[in-house]
Amino acid sequence: MTNKTEVLIIGGGVVGTFIARELSRYKLDITLIEKGTDVCVGTSKSNTALIHAGFNADSNKLKGKLNVRGNELFRTKVQKELEVPIEWIGALVVAQDEAGIPQLEEILENGKRNKVPDLEIVKGERLFELEPNLNKNSVAALYAPTAGIVNPFELTVALANNAVKNGAEVILEAEVTDIEDKGDYKLVKTSKGNIEAKLVINAAGVYADKIAQMVGIKDFKITPRRGEYYLYDKILDIKVNHTIFQLPNKVSKGIVVTPTDEDNLLIGPSAEEIEDKDDLSNTREGLDQVIAGAKKTIPDLTTRGVIKEFAGLRAAIKETGDFLIEASDKVKGFINVAGIQSPGLASSPAIAEMVVGIVKEELPGLEEKDDFDPYEQEIPKFRHMSHKQRMKLIEKDSNYGEIICRCESITKGEILDAIRQPVGARTVNAIKRRVRPGAGRCQGGFCGPKVVEILSEELGIPKTEVKLEKDNSKILVEKTKESLQKEVTDNE
């Protein structure tokens, strides 16, 4: 069966879903396809989650311009329309000797050129008032109050849900395997059938070069650069108030120490170029680099209190070190949104805005819908509520009175919401990204079996079909005695 669509977006990361959502403002047929079992399974799920202020970005590069614009859009639009955790905690770039101060001043000037507001250099007592646990040898820091943090999972999922609410279609578990250019349309072959599309937008993250090659575009290559992280328990007795960078030096860009939107401490990322576009594994070396780097900033940190290690792949175009966002001049109807490395998340609203502009040129006469609904509500968060609010919630639906995840106090009601939303969770990890069961200190040891049970009931599949994430990541292999029974029948 062949489906037809006007715009086909390949890739359900923050970039693809943001584009889908922005395009869903218009009278357009939009399809987003993603090979994973969920949206937000690529780089968008493993990064530092910072909305960079924009002081670092080179204003001569696309990423510099889009970062600052993205930050502004997060403030003025995104956080008003989508109920997603965003906190403007501010960032510090710390110098540990006097020699570093001129370097801080340079960054400050660059930031001013980029029109980043309210930058200042702080020293002495003021610095330690801002950040009491900072290494005592810190002498000064660039302070950027407009830097923020965001929950990238909730953001991406909210964008996908909002796009669907406004008429876009999201197809999961459909891998693009080939694209044929048929002149006025593209025939996109996927593992779930073919799709004819007038316009194809390539937002496939680390795979963007492979997708481009399918239509004969061979002039860029994505080199994955792995970054590893440690995440700490909320109850860790070491806290930081800001996102803290070290001054970059020749050897290292430095390890970031930051709180997350849920107030876990996050440290990382390391940087290592690798070949394999799927290798998200952690390495001893990478993790050691992370802890050593973080100790420079907060000497008291050890691996005590760590509840999770993870890794992400930066989708870098090494040659330019920049984003590549353009309608191909070789292949009509094909738009590349590639090389979206950091600050891709911070820039994502501006990337979408820019792509909408390109689409308007490609498809002239685009009209806005009258009934576009920009708002998306979050799933209730029992854990952040007052006792009174909780009471009301449970009166509405008693499923919010049943705690499934004891570490994070996540209720059955929240898990059901995660499964029942437009782009609903189909796997254990998809539920965790949306509503956090298993994201705490026991990492699903207690709630895992319960989440498996709820998924199996809601999706109407046997427990042995419930997956952790990808297709072959089933959690249980068979019922007990199943193979024994088989042997008995075989012998009969």
Binding site: G401, S483, L484
Partner: protein, 424 residues
């Protein structure tokens, strides 16, 4: 808010909570509530379907559910109130207990005394930081036990177990009996963390190899586990380069330690001891907050449920005396000190005078395996008495009775216990 009040609230309906509630009742308290987040009482015992429970306390070998059943019946006979499927969210220092369930909604319970009996949780792969990919097929041993024994599902067919604590050993046998291939049990330390009887009955009897001083250095696979890299470790427990080898498997079970579950305690203002991860308590198992007691695995990790029961009865009795205003402080507090070769001792101090008490039992663990050892109990520099132990194993808790008379005659304000090897 649904407001209620009770004289005694017990948080957690495992063996610890049940024994504490029963004992408090038998000492005269009538207004008791047990709060349990699971759908049934019994705690972790409900998934321990093997036998070996109750040898000390009942003098017979029971399975976990059978042991739990005995206490569930005692609690039922006494008509003690129970709330199941009820999660305690917060205990305040002035003993308000906030909880939630789907029938009654939010609960605020005013308690005059509280027993904390929340048990413990397992350390995870993430907490010990094994590098590699984050695939399906890596389970903590207790989770796998739940899947098999409670839910009737196999988490895998070709298994490596890291950690030779009791749960790891029990699960090696369980998986084997269920038809899985258990490739090996690996242990980082040069000795096992499990009971000797479990090594014999769970591994030796089934020819499952126990490989000491080895650990998993990397987890392989893209979606489901495909194998693990294993290496020998040196004296500092660091992997020895070049000693690595690969084991193909679809399942890795981790039995790498238990952590008392004390988030509620910390929020209530209860001080914890760093070695045990549990509250600092006196001989009544009372915490630094008057009227809040702790017992069972939330206090320190026990290997035998019989000891949990004994300890919890102490807490239950003390809660009753507290409610009846019968607790009398000693003039002098006695601090219990873990000396040479001792990991920790519970209780941490002796502070009360209790009528008719004959002795205070000190529970402790040795730091390392020792042979022909002597346990010395000291009053300052003065030796009070010595007890010979043929074998000391960190896995096996030692209990030393301190007679009340001796406590009364102490010269100093500390009792130190230490272990020395060989005779004097």
């Amino acid at each position: 808010m649904n407001k209620q009040s009770y004289d005694l609230v017990v948080v957690g309906g495992g063996p610890a909570g049940l024994a504490a509630a029963q004992e408090a009742y038998d000492q005269g308290v009538r207004d008791i509530l047990i709060m349990e987040r699971d759908f049934e009482l019994g705690g972790i015992l409900q998934q321990c379907i093997h036998n070996g429970f109750g040898l000390h306390f009942f003098g017979e070998e029971l399975t976990g559910p059978e042991y739990a059943q005995r206490f569930m019946e005692k609690v039922a006979e006494r008509g003690i109130d129970i709330k199941l499927d009820t999660m305690v969210l917060e205990v305040t220092p002035d003993k308000k207990v906030y909880a939630v369930n789907s029938k009654e909604g939010m609960l605020e319970i005013d308690a005059k005394a509280v027993v904390m009996a929340m048990g413990c949780r397992e350390r995870t792969r993430e907490a010990i930081g094994i590098p590699g990919s984050r695939v399906a097929g890596v389970f903590s041993a207790g989770t796998a036990q739940r899947y098999i024994n409670m839910e009737g599902y196999m988490p895998g067919k070709k298994v490596v177990i890291l950690g030779s604590g009791d749960i790891g050993l029990i699960m090696a046998r369980r998986m084997h009996l269920e038809g899985a291939e258990v490739e090996a049990v690996l242990e980082l330390l040069p000795f096992s963390g499990g009971l000797t009887r479990n090594i014999v009955q769970c591994l030796d009897d089934f020819d499952i190899p126990l490989r000491l001083s080895q650990t998993v250095t990397r987890i392989h696979g893209k979606e489901r586990l495909e194998g693990v890299s294993v290496a020998k470790v040196d004296k500092n427990l660091k992997p020895i380069p070049g000693s690595e080898y690969y084991i193909e498997c679809d399942t890795l079970l981790l039995s790498v330690g238990l952590i008392p579950e004390n988030e509620l305690s910390v929020a209530a203002g209860i001080e914890l001891a760093s070695v045990t991860g549990g509250p600092i308590v006196n001989e009544c198992r009372e915490t630094n907050i008057n009227g809040i007691f702790a017992c069972g695995n939330v206090l320190h990790v026990h290997d035998l449920v019989d000891y949990v029961t004994e300890e919890s009865k102490l807490a239950g009795k003390a809660a009753a005396l507290y409610l009846q205003d019968k607790i009398v402080k000693r003039d002098k507090e006695i601090n219990i000190i873990a000396g040479d070769n001792i990991g920790y001792i519970v209780p941490h101090k002796i502070t009360e005078k209790i009528e008719e008490r004959k002795r205070v039992d000190l529970y402790m663990r040795g730091k390392r395996p020792m042979e022909n050892a002597q346990i010395l109990v000291m009053d300052g520099d003065k030796k009070l008495f010595a007890k010979k132990e043929r074998f000391v194993k960190p896995a096996e808790m030692i209990s030393i009775p301190l007679p009340e008379k001796m406590i009364e005659q102490l010269e100093g304000s500390t009792v130190e216990v230490k272990i020395v090897e060989g005779g004097e």
